[in-house]
Symmetry: C2
Subunit: 368 residues, 2 copies
């Protein structure tokens, strides 16, 4: 692996001092910001996540704040999910599409009030799309990136750690609900959510100056829980079927291809800019779709390019995320597969940059 050259353009986060003190060894860049990728090593980090609790610097989940009289209208323009019955205090996973139905992001939308939302982003400068739509359509709304940086607690002991800092009331939060919890005299949005299947919380730290005090408070409170700095685990999130925008889907894919049809109701989502395109796709159905792929491997190279999925010498899809699973003893992967070969049990070959492996389409993800 090459080194990562530092620059102001690749932004540090309010938690970077803590991440460095905890001994981060590799980063990736996400929304032009540092995202830790490895502390000990990917396998040790993975086992620890499943066993204890980790504190994740996910400040790179930048927020887009949409606020004003036209906020609801603009939000519905963005997504084919029907937002009419949404409630303040809830989080919503919202596929976002352009005019052709192509995926632009798959954020979690946090409804703070009827006229105020935070959109917690996957990896694209989505602020520009929302600003462009608002500008082009002359909407009465303010669109900005607020000073809000998520910090996640993930792992089986996340409730215990959160309760020590925010009180036992935090245990009562239901999945994808949020509440306001006090920290150093401020009320922070804390949601039961996060990019793992181990459970936990995302804390929306509003004001960068609170970043290190909160990091330190959590680290201190979690000492006897073996709480450690961690980061999203590629192995664990593939086992759990958590998609990654930019890896598993891009602007070239519809939500239906990504298996996100259950979040789409284009008939009801009047105003969504991709509505006409998606109504057509919804009728026809996708001709390729995301599938879990088991790989018959002992070890895998890094999946830093799309790996062709082959059947009888023909390309029938591609793997977009892959890792060797310690718990399942084989390679786990996410791939986009043509309908001719997407049935569970279909045998394929996957061509990596190093060699070719046998692979099989699965019925469901391993930790779904």
């Amino acid at each position: 692996m090459a080194l990562m050259a530092p620059s102001l353009r690749v932004r540090r986060t309010p938690f970077s001092d803590g991440v460095e003190a905890a001994g981060v060894t590799a980063y990736t860049v996400y929304n032009r910001m540092l995202l830790p990728a490895v502390f000990c090593d990917p396998v040790k980090d993975y086992h620890h996540l499943k066993r204890a609790v980790q504190i994740w610097d996910v400040a790179c989940e930048r927020q887009v704040e949409v606020r004003g009289p036209d906020a609801a209208r603009l939000m519905q323009m963005l997504t084919p999910r029907d937002l009419r019955c949404t409630q303040p205090g809830q989080c919503y996973y919202v596929p976002i599409v352009d005019g052709t139905g192509g995926m632009l992001n798959d954020p979690v939308a946090v409804k703070l009030a009827e006229d105020r939302w935070w959109i917690s982003l996957a990896d694209s400068d989505f602020l520009l799309w929302v600003k462009g739509l608002a500008q082009g359509g002359h909407l009465d709304v303010r669109v900005k990136e607020p000073d809000v940086s998520p910090l996640a607690l993930q792992g089986s002991l996340a409730d215990d750690l959160a309760a020590r800092v925010f009180g036992d009331r935090v245990r009562d939060l239901r999945f994808f609900r949020f509440g306001y919890f006090p920290f150093q005299g401020r009320d922070l949005v804390v949601a039961r959510s996060g990019y793992s299947k181990q459970g936990g919380f995302e804390i929306y730290v509003e004001d960068s100056a609170l970043g290190m005090p909160l990091w330190n408070a959590l680290t201190e409170a979690g000492r006897d829980l073996d709480a450690r700095a961690g980061c999203p685990s590629m192995i664990e999130r593939i086992e759990g079927g958590l998609l990654s925008y930019g890896n598993d889907m891009t602007m070239a894919n519809t939500p239906y291809e990504c298996g996100l049809g259950r979040f789409c109701d284009p008939l009801a989502a009047v105003g969504c800019v991709g509505r006409a395109a998606l109504l057509q796709v919804a009728g026809e159905g996708p001709v390729k779709q995301i599938r879990p792929i088991a790989i018959d491997s002992q070890a895998l190279p890094p999946c830093d390019r799309a790996w062709p999925l082959m059947a009888a010498g023909q390309r029938v899809g591609q793997v977009t995320s892959a890792a060797q699973s310690p718990d399942f003893g084989h390679g786990v992967a996410i791939g986009m597969v043509q309908m001719t070969h997407w049935d569970p049990g279909t045998h394929l070959q996957v061509k990596t940059q190093d060699s070719t492996f046998d692979a099989e389409v699965q019925k469901q993800f391993w930790n779904a």
Copy 2:
């Protein structure tokens, strides 16, 4: 320095195989794509650039193609530069602003035809802004990222190397003009431009499959010119006053603050979405502006965060790019300075993460 974790989401380029074979040691991420940052070491790379010629993988300068009946109208919406008298065959540096006059990008626009442009991007997902404006305003235009990856030849021997591959006619190209030059049966856009002050070309490689053949042809042809794989040199570009979007300017800055007023004519740029905001700013003048800053240093830490510029204990600006210059024997930097302290000769202090240095506002950049 930490390592850079590989993933599909941080895209490889059509030249990555060549870059790796040439021994890249550090990357940065630019437009969600790998951009080499170091080969030998930053100082050796810098001396070599000034003395010979380098082949740069700048595929991360992604293109936005704007094509169709409303292309001219959309282009003028984007920028306060007056585009009425622009000509096909020319490149134009165009500050891009939002509705408040804030900088969204500072690309080079390549006018291919009256109804067809490529916008060669600095570091932001500008495609989303252009698509959003076109969608919101119902413009008759197609906006997409084409399969075009720039490869740069930079250095004093760039003309010699380019002529060996594209013929002597390439020597006649004037600055910021482009022509079509044959390579393996295809006509490629070759422009006299690039992100250094050493001179050279940018080749717009249309079709990723041509990437490695061109890389190899240039490497082979340049063997006795000491042509090597290289990359933009932070030291050299600061000496030359070349700004970096995301470092030296952001959405929070107007073009006037960035010293780009000479590219702005908001009175003439009818249709520019930031026109009203910039007309006001143009009248009042900026209250802070980019300046060259000399630092009295023997060595500097990496400028991975904004460094406050202080005078009499007050913050009067910030340094956004900095490096120790081997040729000038002191630190060279780009900073945004308040008008009270922006006069050449003004003495300041700059606070890095490690220590404080004396600094002085300069009249002009060192290689301007």
